[in-house]
């Protein structure tokens, strides 16, 4: 029998039992919809996380710390280290950083009002290089960065300059770094622009001075390894991990830690991927259940249509024709269910994305006050690849579970089938 005819007969049979067919198909729709919803939602969620991480971490910037978990803290870096890193392939810029945490014994105050700035850390940097390395993050909102010839200038972060909505230090103000033994005066050159709400390069609570000024301070005088952090910009983020490896090779084992944002991102991506796969596996179970439903309903149909099968065989239908007729029904259920399931699943993922977007608030640093409410926008991604996989899966399940009842029908003895009441 022609396949087109087989399908049209199967379609006629399905239409004859509309309620039964739609309920059986519904099972497949639910299974496929679940898988598609999880896939497209997961894809969208990953995209959002990726985007947030890209905003939080400059992917082309490596951050090098002295010491490691394995070997403990180490001294720091010096200019030779900086020069050595500069010589590595695909490294476009290297700049050292000195950090001074502000404590009770070291404070940053407005020289005139005596009010304490909101800063937690003083960072000593080369302003020009920092602007090149973090062009999006290292900008002033008011004033300007210090020129080469300007000395004893300071650039507080946005939240360092404002405490309780009152400006503590503005452009032109004098600010003093006060310790029990000495006081160093600075002039505010500019105020850093507001940073993001996440990532480790958020400088809102920092205040920056030039590295030369820091090295002149009594504490750093005569120190051989004064730098605590080295920032490295690679020419393209895809080189991050190879460059990181080469940097590690420059130092004794475990004496430094290189923070590679792309590696971290890959890890997070892997975890999200795993979670997505797990959820999809659960979704697949619902499709299996739908498969059992098909098997159940088709077994009943074979029993009901025993006599009909007998007639078909009596007038010359081969076993495989009968098999084909029943498999065609299973196939059609799979195709319909798969198709509707894809649309339903995508619809569900849109709805869920709206709900989730309202529920999930972005993470913020623990020490930071609550940021302005910011919605997490999850846009479901329709991936044709997943659509094809899910569709093929639906059809496969339907055929596999339809095979048993179809074979049962095909194997019926025609005489017994004709006698069946």
């Amino acid at each position: 029998m022609k396949i087109s005819k087989l399908l049209s007969i199967a379609w006629g049979n399905l239409k004859q039992r509309k309620l039964r067919t739609s309920l059986t198909t519904l099972g497949v729709v639910i299974g496929i919809a679940t898988i598609i919803a999880i896939a497209s939602l997961g894809e969208g969620f990953r995209g959002e996380i990726r985007q947030r991480m890209e905003q939080g971490f400059e992917l082309d910037v490596l951050i090098i710390f002295p010491g490691s978990f394995t070997a403990g803290l180490a001294e720091g870096f010096n200019q030779t280290d900086v020069e050595n890193i500069k010589n590595i392939d695909n490294v476009s810029l290297v700049t050292p950083l000195i950090t001074m945490p502000l404590t009770k014994r070291m404070e940053l105050r407005n020289s005139n009002t005596g009010k304490k700035l909101g800063a937690f850390t003083v960072g000593a940097v080369n302003f020009t290089e920092m602007r090149k390395i973090l062009p999006l993050r290292f900008n002033v909102t008011r004033g300007k960065f210090p020129e080469q010839n300007e000395d004893q200038m300071i650039v507080p972060g946005y939240k360092a300059s404002i405490v309780n909505e009152t400006i503590i230090a503005d452009v032109g103000d004098n600010v003093s770094l006060v310790t029990s033994t000495y006081t160093i005066n600075f002039t505010v050159s500019g105020i850093l622009a507001k940073g993001g709400t996440s990532g480790i390069t958020n400088f809102d609570y920092w205040a920056f001075i030039s590295i030369e000024n820091a090295l002149d301070m009594p504490f750093f005088k005569g120190k051989t390894d004064p730098y605590q952090i080295i920032l490295v910009k690679v020419s393209e983020s895809k080189y991050s991990e190879t460059v990181a490896e080469e940097i590690e090779n420059l130092f004794p084992p475990y004496s430094i830690t290189v923070f590679v944002p792309t590696a971290l991102m890959r890890q997070v991506d892997n975890i999200l991927n795993l979670v997505q796969m797990f959820l999809m596996a659960i979704g697949s179970i619902s499709l299996l259940v739908a498969g059992v439903g098909i098997m159940n309903i088709m077994t009943v149909a074979v029993m009901e249509r025993t006599r009909e099968i007998g007639i078909l065989k009596a007038i010359g239908a081969k076993s495989r024709t009968v098999l084909g007729m029943f498999l065609a029904e299973a196939l059609l259920i799979g195709v319909m269910g798969g198709f509707m399931g894809m649309f339903t699943g995508y619809g569900i993922s849109y709805g869920l994305a709206q709900v989730l977007s309202n529920f999930i608030q972005p993470q913020r640093p623990l020490d930071a006050p609550a940021p302005e409410p910011q919605r997490m926008e999850i846009t479901p991604v329709f991936s044709p690849q997943w659509a094809i996989i899910a569709f093929a899966f639906a059809i496969t399940i339907c055929i596999i579970f339809g095979l048993y009842p179809a074979r049962k029908a095909a194997k019926l003895n025609p005489v017994e089938a004709l006698r069946y009441e």
Partner: protein
């Protein structure tokens, strides 16, 4: 010349639960091409079993069946299906039409199975329905037709593939006498006009007498094979 159909010492036993019921206990006879033969006997004599075996719907426990000289019991199930499709037509007591299909669809079914194009199948089916006098009922479904009309559709279906042998199992058993006679008349007419061989199972002696020959069956054995000298005309 060999006969169209040869039945050689056929035995068949059915199992009803734990009891073995011998349906046929050694039956042999020949059917010539173009013959109108009735198999006559009381119920339980093995008539239907014999018809099913001749129609290649089932296999005997012992014995041989030749159709046009071919030992059909040596053929595979698929080959038997092909044989049923091309050389044998069935007419049943309960018509056995597919309830969801129209008269035309039911009649074209064997052609559909054979893979004939839809247009050609439809044309032939209509022609065949005209031949059995149902040109006005082409698109009716079985439940919209009377018993006699349903049986005519079944006969049209049995004949659509132009089979050598038409096997009818109590074709009048579910019809009133008048309609039953009309069906017999139709079969006789087709036998005479198209030369097809008809083998009709019946327990009605009147209908049995319409044949060229009668095979009397009793308790799974042939009691006698009778030549009908004066055929009854319906």
């Amino acid at each position: 010349m060999r006969s169209l159909l040869e039945v050689r010492d056929i035995k068949k036993t059915y199992r009803m639960g734990k009891v073995l019921v011998p349906a046929l206990r050694g039956v042999s006879f020949d059917v010539k091409a173009g013959e109108f033969l009735t198999i006559f006997g009381p119920s339980g004599s093995g008539k239907s079993t014999l018809l099913h075996l001749m129609g290649c719907l089932d296999r005997p426990d012992e014995g041989e069946i030749f159709i046009e000289g071919t030992n059909v019991l040596k053929l595979s199930d698929d080959k038997l299906a092909e044989l049923r499709l091309t050389k044998i037509g069935f007419v049943f007591q309960f018509f056995n039409l597919l309830p969801r299909m129209t008269a035309v669809q039911n009649v074209e079914l064997p052609l559909t199975i054979a893979g004939v194009s839809e247009r050609e199948a439809k044309e032939k089916a209509k022609e065949m329905l005209r031949l059995v006098g149902l040109e006005a009922r082409l698109n009716h479904k079985p439940f919209e037709l009377s018993g006699g009309e349903q049986q005519r559709v079944a006969i049209a279906r049995a004949l659509i593939n132009d089979p050598k042998i038409v096997l009818a199992d109590e074709p009048t058993g579910n019809l009133d006498t008048k309609t039953g006679w009309e069906i017999v008349q139709l079969m006789k007419k087709l036998n005479e006009e198209k030369g097809q061989t008809f083998i009709v199972v019946t327990h009605d002696p009147q209908i049995a007498e319409t044949a060229h020959r009668i095979v009397h069956l009793k308790d799974g054995l042939i009691e006698e094979i009778k030549e009908v000298s004066k055929r009854k005309t319906p």
